[in-house]
Amino acid sequence: MGARVDVEGVSVRYGAVTAVDDLSFSLAGDKIYGLLGRNGSGKTSLLSVVGAHRRASAGTVRIDGEPVFENGRATRRVCLVRHTGDAVGTSDRLEHALLQAATLRESWDPDRAVELMDLFELPLDAKFGELSLGKRSAFGVVLGLASRAPLTMFDEAHLGMDAPSRYKFYDALLADFAAAPRTVIVSTHLIEELAAVLEEIVIIDSGRLVLHEEVDALRSRGTSVVGEAEAVDRFVAGLTVLEQRELGRTKEAAVFGELDGARRDRARAEGLDLRPIALQDLFVHLTEPAGGAR
């Protein structure tokens, strides 16, 4: 059973710096969500508040309707794994860290933990501080998945993991999710590989919500319009233009939003070329500092 998450007007400020700015959205739960944003967009600050690692400067996060900060009924349903490994000291042996997790977390699944340690080839007697970045990230994945928390969050959890390990992570995540649905949030600034595993994504930029949408629907949402400059200008008038580039008399405009059949026919009649925009490029357009009219 996954947890529902409501982010209500949350701000996080560090002195004069605002990392999260009056952000609101809701996740219904029982899905795998992606939290996307460029570096420094506020992802970690936001997840820290959702995971009760930090008190919000303003606003509230509710887990299944309950405010999460310092509320044991809510916090024990939440597990946030940051790639920095807050749950493990550098001199701790992995075995000890697992025992600690088993003692502190009621929903802990020790058998799953052992399976995952094997999967990622993590030695029980190794000290956390001696592991490579990729192995530390893998251990974070073990702590997150074996927590069986109704809301499990991975903050850049795959950092430093090589491709085979990342695939193991996705496979293990999908297997766990298929066996027992829960709410999972994975934050990343690399969308390519991960996108297929996600159901919905939340994109934030400068601490504000850019969009919250079903990933698959987003794949048909961006269109690149190429053709003679004036014809392109006429065609995109009134549409959301993310970016435009000109090369001689040819112009390319990236537009956001589904184009209906009539519009597509018009484009054909005007000799314009319509091409879908890949998800990664769409993400870049949506979070570009000079993102045009949005």
Partner: protein, 236 residues
């Protein structure tokens, strides 16, 4: 499972405590005979080792509990409040265990000194004067250790919460450990600081009361600092 934070803390701290105690015993057992080659042994080596270093060790355990264990406790879905309540009990459990180990150390030393016909002098007149006065040794160390452990936790909370501004809790810590230090015998100086004198023979009840007040004030200050302590991002 009941008292999860307490179990985690005790498991981490008591094992370290026992190892360090055993190491200190070996150290004293080797050092004192070496010293005896050059001069006559007239004071208790264990008293020097356990009282001075022991307090700083307990301080370190308190620091570790807040600086290292608290982030893990939060990361595993527990609240700061749960931590604070159970850690408060832990300061009593761990300092009590440490006090018992100190008393056992005195007993072992007593046997060694008697066999070698050395003098096991403890210090100024005060709460206890004999290495076999177990009850007095235990409760005096227990009370003082508990204060030192809480102060360690408080200082960690200060630096973790306030960064460099955490320096402001250091004088508070000194103020909390001074009265018990002055009141309890065998320790009439702050470790590694010049001798400040002693209040001489202080009634047991007064010592316990002083310690209880320091312990409670230390806990209150610590709680005010950790109640909304963010889990900091560790450097990778």
């Amino acid at each position: 499972m009941k008292w999860p934070v307490l179990r985690v803390l005790c498991r981490a701290l008591v094992s370290v405590l026992v190892v360090v105690w055993a190491a200190a015993l070996v150290f004293v057992a080797v050092l004192v005979p070496v010293v005896s080659i050059w001069r006559e042994v007239t004071i208790s080596g264990w008293n020097v080792a356990s009282v001075q270093a022991g307090r700083w060790f307990l301080f370190g355990l308190g620091y570790y509990a807040v600086h290292d264990v608290l982030p893990a406790v939060i990361a595993h879905g527990r609240t700061r409040r749960e931590f604070a309540a159970q850690a408060a009990v832990v300061t009593l459990v761990v300092s009590g265990a440490a006090a018992l180990l100190v008393a056992v150390g005195f007993g072992l030393e007593f046997l060694l000194y008697r066999a070698m016909d050395w003098t096991q002098r403890l210090g100024e007149q005060g709460t206890f004067s004999s290495a076999t006065d177990f009850p007095a040794i235990v409760w005096a160390h227990w009370a003082v250790f508990a204060v030192w452990m809480v102060v360690g936790a408080m200082v960690a909370a200060g630096f973790d919460r306030l960064g460099g501004g955490g320096l402001v809790v250091v004088p508070v810590g000194v103020a909390l450990i001074l009265p018990p230090g002055l009141a309890v015998n065998g320790s009439n100086s702050l470790p590694f600081l010049p001798t400040l004198g002693s209040w001489g023979s202080v009634p047991t009840a007064v010592v316990l009361l002083l310690c209880a007040v320091s312990w409670a004030v230390g806990l209150a200050v610590t709680w005010s600092l950790v109640r909304d302590l963010p889990v900091r991002a560790r450097a990778v």
